[in-house]
Symmetry: C2
DNA sequence: ACGCTTTTGTGAACGAATGCACAAAGTCAC
DNA sequence: GTGACTTTGTGCATTCGTTCACAAAAGCGT
């Protein structure tokens, strides 16, 4: 029976991808001292339609009050719990170049249960060097990190040519979630999740739409400078 | 009639999002001197199924040869053209903090027609300072950049609190595509595209799946250490 | 106590994306 | 030239995601 409220096995991927945004919006409301929001308000702050928001939230249970809305703190807690943010997630960053430095210094990790426990690099010249309060370690310390710190999430910030190799090392050590900044596809065994953050892809998608806009306005008169339609 | 081969108005968003990956894979083949690939090979290199690849490519025309495959250079050109990469796209980066520095130094822009023409920041102490060969400029030079360089794409790397303000300035100056690294929702008028790159969101999605894996293996016996199922 | 207002939660319709399976269209060997 | 073989391009079924629209549920004022 799907009537069971705790039958929340299988939240759609599209919904999961939006939960962090809802959580951020809720945090914003909480900071401004707002204790209750309607689906309309929360949706506006999250950049989605209210119907979509309600359907998304309905997948994790019935935490709203009809005629009133949602209690900010309670909903934030429920989403956090669903996302697994009520526990601490140790993270390791591999590749201490330009991007690795910026990531290591980034405070955004800590704000949601993510804790950078190690910085790794192949380059021996970097070993022992302190970056943002942490020493750079050699790659062969990975096994110890998984065993001792419970490391489960790895971030790859090496050049694309090394990424698959680094990925294999992470997986061999027991890491089962990987965030990849290198512009390449990673092959992993079943049970390992990979997500890619790719600047270049995003720019190309923007360029596609930009070109379409340019062509559209050129078509309906080369004079028009403003926004088409 | 949809029989017209140039009736490629309206390529699905999902397809557009994958074109950059196909292009990257093709570049890889070209570098290794391979001049022809089958949909099966290209799909494998791109991390998709061949049926999906073929359907995607069919949206931009019929560039394959039955019984043989696709000519690498020609297909790469067609995808580039479709994405609007045969022209040069001037890009400006706003916010020269940790992330801005890494982006300015990043060579990945140049590899596909994207050219960083300006670095901007509100902080007067940074003005005139050279980063990766470019001087940091004040925000009020935006109008000139749009007029003189044809700037159409802006990258926001400021704190979330300033992002909407910066975004408004970019839009006011005439920028119509924005890549946002700040963890917040941007409100823009019609005709302006925004894409968000969000580290924190990606980590939270990984955490969700990681938690699910942990729960699953706990459920079928707390002893199991390996990958479930 | 009761009806009026507000807002949720969700069934049902719709639309987009994926995967399957195969006919059509080409190559290549001989 | 012909037939066997390979691989594309696509119609169709299916799955996934979004939008609509409203009944059910809760608060509130009187
Ligand atoms: N810099 C950016 O703004 C930016 C933006 C988007 C994506 N990226 C991507 O992120 C990755 C890193 O970029 P970057 O600019 O920091 O590069 P970088 O060359 O500055 O740094 C790469 C680092 O990785 C280390 N490394 C190389 N091979 C390794 C291995 N096998 N094991 C462990 N460490 C290894 C190197 O020692 C170096 O410290 C690249 O793939 C790049 O395309 C960078
Ligand atoms: N550092 C990272 O690895 C990282 C990763 C993901 C996302 N982010 C996000 O990227 C953004 C920048 O991060 P950062 O670490 O570089 O921050 P930062 O504080 O180091 O740099 C911010 C820069 O923006 C400038 N700035 C602030 N307000 C401005 C305005 N109104 N107009 C123009 N410039 C302005 C500041 O002068 C400063 O130079 C943040 O939103 C952060 O959440 C950073």
């Amino acid at each position: 029976m799907t009537a069971d409220p705790s039958a929340r096995r299988g939240i759609p991927d599209a919904t999961v991808a939006r939960l962090p945004e809802y959580l951020r919006a809720l945090t914003g409301f909480a900071e401004r001292g707002i204790t209750s929001v309607s689906s309309e308000e929360l949706a506006a702050a999250s950049g989605v339609r209210s119907a979509k928001l309600r359907k998304d939230l309905s997948h994790l249970g019935s935490y709203g009050v009809r005629g009133v809305g949602y209690e900010v703190d309670h909903l934030a807690y429920q989403i956090s719990r669903e996302l697994g943010l009520t526990q601490d997630w140790p993270v390791a960053i591999v590749g201490m170049g330009n991007l690795g430095h910026a990531l290591a210094a980034y405070s955004g990790f800590a704000t949601r249960g993510f804790r950078v426990v190690a910085l790794l690099d192949q380059d021996e010249a970097l070993h022992g060097q302190q970056i943002a309060g942490l020493p750079v370690r050699p790659m062969d310390t990975l096994d110890a990190l998984v065993a001792e710190e419970g490391l489960a999430i790895g971030v790859i910030a090496t050049p694309a040519g090394s990424a698959q190799d680094v990925c294999d090392q992470l997986v061999a050590a027991g890491v089962s979630s990987i965030l990849n900044f290198a512009p390449c596809v990673l092959v992993v065994p079943d049970g390992v999740d990979v997500r890619k953050v790719d600047l270049s892809t995003e720019l190309q998608i923007l360029a596609f739409h930009e070109q379409r806009k340019a062509l559209a306005s050129a078509a309906l008169g080369p004079v028009a400078k403003g926004v088409a339609k």
